[in-house]
């Protein structure tokens, strides 16, 4: 197979991937929507029954601030079956999309005869793949609810779409400074941990949405859009836990990526650390995630504050990759 053919194949596969992810998003969303309407009818039914209960008891429940939204009802009704079919289709489409996505990334690598993360386009595509794969692993390990798929696929599709259009670069060889086996180690670790960090950023945002939604419900008001979406999300505590799990997974890998980068920098540029803008922002990202891990164990910083730190840290990561590469000149400005 010629390099040009492989490069073209990679592009076609990426297009198919975006399409599949978008369809998967619709599947997940379909499940959410019907589950929600189902739940609403369930809730109104419950409300009707509750009206017969004593007013005092209702007050107690409201005062307890417990989840006012009942757990998803036992799914035995036809509409529920249809909804779960939509969700399963979403999952299947995501898996298929991830397979094609992997194919696209690999074809790129073979087309250029090197690792498939030599410029910003390839890097972004690989990071998006890492987000999806980590999500699938969490899903298969039953660490997250499938309903999250709808919320996650939106940014993934946008991200891949932007990468494929704005950042797109033709397949080509690497500049000499990148020609080292460290590019395999350093960048792979960066891709994997960045994917996890971006995922955790989305999860933390969803946690904030859910907890604000819960606060409004507890206060007796019915949340308006976009907060109303909160009812479709897993519980705040579950979101907080999975955010932590993902960050705890990624943080050592990110640390390793920085150290591997330092070792590489030492052999390429003669110093292991030089406060190059990319190095500086990797450091800032690292410090913020270290802050998150500490905050989660510090009284007064748990919950919402920690989640905001996770969001800020993901923001620093995005600055590290995009703002620094595009607007700031440094040693890492290759592509």
């Amino acid at each position: 197979m010629s390099d040009a053919f492989l490069a073209g194949l990679s592009d076609d596969l990426l297009f198919a991937t975006v399409l599949l992810y978008a369809l998967a998003m619709l599947g997940f969303a379909g499940e959410q929507a019907s589950r929600r309407s189902h739940r609403i009818s369930e809730t109104s039914l419950a409300a009707a029954t509750a009206r017969q209960a004593t007013a005092a008891r209702t007050r107690v429940m409201a005062g307890a601030g417990g989840p006012a939204v009942p757990e998803p009802a036992p799914l035995a009704v036809p509409s529920a079956q249809r909804s779960s079919r939509a969700g399963r289709a979403g999952l299947a489409l995501t898996v298929l999309g991830a397979v094609l996505h992997l194919g696209s990334v690999l074809a790129r690598g073979f087309a250029a005869n090197r690792v498939p993360w030599g410029n910003m386009y390839e890097f972004s595509s690989a990071v998006a793949l890492s987000v999806v794969v980590i999500f699938l692993v969490l899903l298969l390990g039953r660490r997250v609810d499938r309903g999250l798929g709808a919320f996650l696929m939106v940014p993934v599709v946008l991200y891949l779409g932007l990468a494929g259009t704005v950042l797109y670069t033709e397949a080509g060889p690497l500049v000499p400074a990148l020609d080292s086996y460290w590019i395999k180690i350093h960048v792979f670790a960066a891709v994997l941990s960045s994917g996890a960090f971006l995922l955790s950023g989305i999860l933390a945002l969803l946690y904030l949405l859910r907890s604000r939604h819960d606060a409004q419900v507890a206060a007796g008001s019915s949340p308006r859009f976009p907060l109303s979406m909160g009812s479709a999300l897993p519980g705040a505590a579950a979101l907080d836990r999975v955010t932590y799990a993902v960050i705890a997974f990624a943080f050592p890998i990110w640390t390793f990526a920085i150290i591997a980068g330092a070792i590489w920098a030492e052999s390429a540029w003669g110093r292991y650390w030089g406060w190059d803008p990319k190095e500086t922002w990797s450091f800032i990202t690292w410090v913020l995630y270290a802050g998150y891990l500490h905050a989660r164990a510090t009284a007064g910083w748990k919950g919402t504050k920690s989640a905001w730190i996770a969001v800020a840290a993901a923001g620093a990561l995005i600055i590290d990759y995009y703002v620094v590469n595009i607007f700031v000149v440094g040693f890492h400005s290759y592509a």
């Binding site: 080509g172 060889p173 500049v175 000499p176 400074a177 020609d179 080292s180 460290w182 705890a248 997974f249 943080f251 050592p252 640390t255 390793f256 150290i259 330092a262 070792i263 590489w264 030492e266 052999s267 390429a268 540029w269 003669g270 110093r271 292991y272 650390w273 030089g274 406060w275 190059d276 803008p277 500086t280 922002w281 450091f283 800032i284 410090v287 913020l288 270290a290 802050g291 891990l293 500490h294 905050a295 164990a297 510090t298 009284a299 007064g300 910083w301 620093a316 620094v324 700031v328 440094g330």
Partner: protein
């Protein structure tokens, strides 16, 4: 832990508890100091310092930094004449060497060391103490199970103990009760990570104090010996001693660059012959990007390259002078500016100024030359000539790369039409003498670094990753088992088995582990038939 209460049992960490400020005696002079120390070593302060550190780094990435790009800093001063001096006063161009930046990270490390010293002591104590005694009410623990069995308690408790031992639990027995604990590596890893951080800082500081960095330009055929004076530019550490330079030397035989069709660089190679202190037979070394030459503690890197046309000048008396002129590249196609000074020419001194173009294209209309490709495919040297006094005797140091003082120079010819020379071509100068472009050679710049803190920093880095993995993925958990014989210690009496467990993190995983463990214990102490369906926490 000799004193154990239920509260101690439940606290599954050697982290110091947040202590409410004790009422200090007024007259105590050390009270404010102690209060400050406690505040500094608290997690909340550490957290704030962490965020401050992140924030303090931000300007360093958006403003040009002297350590990284001094030219950009000069340019900033030109572009912002009023703002730049103000920014400079607050070290905005030396952020990472600024006193306020140092203040933040030093405070952070003081806080860290204070916190660490306490935690190391507590953890060491925990490592040598038995696990805390069995709490009174086991059913109140997050995981618990209870059933009745017919086993002999004395025998069963020993069996359970050996099973737990084999599962690498640390077990302590008191009468018919066991306390077990596992996952001490979590805190060990945590401490390893933070101690490694301190070691990393020491490594960085050692490099900053005792390290050395120098850059030098070497033309093909020329040599370099590692002495302070041989360098074009040096950055010694604050306590660096010139005697600490590793003695070695090398000769640059050949530099080779290859380029893609679009002019992107593909490979760089500097062929060296080097010899160490003993001055023995020089050994060849192919120096590439990412493959530095290592001699003792000194590493030599390939940093940059350029062209050095060799020229032959014949003066008015017929003396032949040869020079190899390092030209400075101005862009990716390596159009390079060249300055040739001939102070030793008989009669008037000579100077030439112009450009070297590796792949030359000449505009037929304007006769301007430019380069379209970085490789020397069609090299040309295009220069203007001058005669007169180069002004080198004034005593002010002059750059070899440009003509600073032109006051004593008169153009050769009309001074406007540059002479283009291809390799081998000679320009017979009006008024006598000639300039010949003999051939194209290349030069390379090398950076030599010595960093005695590097090994420590690397070891610290490994320690950090290892410590992080342990502290994030190992779970600390406790398990208690109590056998009691409500009917008295009668051979046929029933034995009540109570099991309880507690995990600090990853409680989902622990729930599964606990279920597995209590199943294993049920094999050792089988429930009585009437008690076949045991009540566990999960069933409720």
């Amino acid at each position: 832990m000799t004193v154990t209460s239920d509260r101690d049992a439940v606290r599954l960490s050697t982290a110091p508890e947040p202590v409410a400020p004790r009422p200090e005696r007024r007259q105590s002079l050390t009270a404010p100091l102690r209060r400050t120390w406690r505040q500094l070593t608290s997690m909340r302060t550490a957290l704030l310092l962490l965020f401050l550190l992140a924030l303090a780094s931000v300007p360093g990435s958006f403003l040009p930094q002297r350590g990284l790009n001094p030219v950009a800093v000069q340019q900033y001063f030109v572009d912002h004449p009023t703002l730049a001096p103000l920014l400079d006063r607050v070290y905005a161009f030396d952020v990472f060497a600024a006193p306020w930046f140092a203040a933040v990270y030093l405070l952070l490390f003081v806080s860290l060391v204070g916190c660490l010293s306490l935690r190391v002591r507590l953890h060491a104590k925990a490592l040598v103490s038995p696990p805390p005694a069995v709490p009174r009410v086991l059913a109140r623990m997050p995981e618990s199970a209870r059933w009745e069995s017919d086993v002999a308690p004395e025998q069963a408790i020993e069996q359970i103990r050996s099973v737990l031992r084999r599962g690498r639990w640390r077990v302590a027995r008191t009468d018919l009760a066991l306390s077990a604990e596992k996952g001490y590596l979590r805190e060990t890893g945590n401490l390893l990570f933070h101690i490694s951080l301190v070691a990393l800082l020491i490594g960085i500081a050692l490099g900053g104090l005792l390290g050395f960095q120098g850059t030098v330009l070497v033309k093909e055929g020329d040599g370099f010996a590692n002495t302070v004076l041989a360098y074009d530019d040096i950055k010694p550490g604050r306590r660096f001693d010139a005697d600490g330079l590793v003695p070695f030397s090398f000769v640059l035989d050949d530099f080779q660059g290859t380029y893609a069709d679009d002019g992107k660089a593909l490979t760089f190679l500097a062929k060296l012959r080097w010899s160490g202190e003993d001055g023995g037979e020089p050994q060849p070394y192919d120096l590439r990007v990412n493959h530095p030459l290592v001699v003792g503690g000194a590493k030599t890197y390939l940093l940059g390259h350029g062209y050095a046309p060799r020229v032959r000048i014949v003066d008015v008396e017929g003396n032949v002078l040869e020079q190899t002129v390092a030209c400075l590249p101005q862009g990716p196609t390596f159009l390079s500016t060249c300055t040739i000074k001939v102070p030793d020419a008989a009669g008037e001194q000579l100077a030439f100024e112009g450009v070297f173009t590796p792949t030359t294209v000449q505009d037929p209309e304007t006769a301007l030359v430019t380069s379209v490709y970085p490789a020397p495919d069609h090299p040309a040297l295009t220069v203007l000539g001058y005669r007169g006094d180069l002004g080198l005797d004034s005593g002010t140091p002059a750059s070899v790369y440009n003509l600073e003082d032109r006051s004593g120079l008169v153009p050769i010819g009309d001074g406007k039409t540059p002479q283009k020379l291809l390799p081998g071509q000679t320009w017979d100068l009006p008024g006598g003498g000639s300039l010949t472009f003999v051939e194209t050679t290349e030069w390379a710049t090398f950076q030599v670094t010595q960093d005695p803190g590097k090994q420590l920093a690397l070891i610290a880095g490994v320690g950090m990753v290892l410590g992080l993995c342990l502290s994030l993925f190992v779970r600390r958990r406790r398990l208690w088992v109590r056998l009691s014989t409500p009917g008295g210690n009668h051979p046929s009496g029933r034995t009540v088995v109570e099991v309880a467990g507690l995990a600090r993190s990853g409680s989902d995983a622990f729930t599964a582990e606990f279920a597995g463990l209590s199943d294993r214990l049920r094999q050792l102490a089988p429930p009585r038939p009437a008690d076949a369906a045991p009540t566990t926490e999960e069933d409720r």
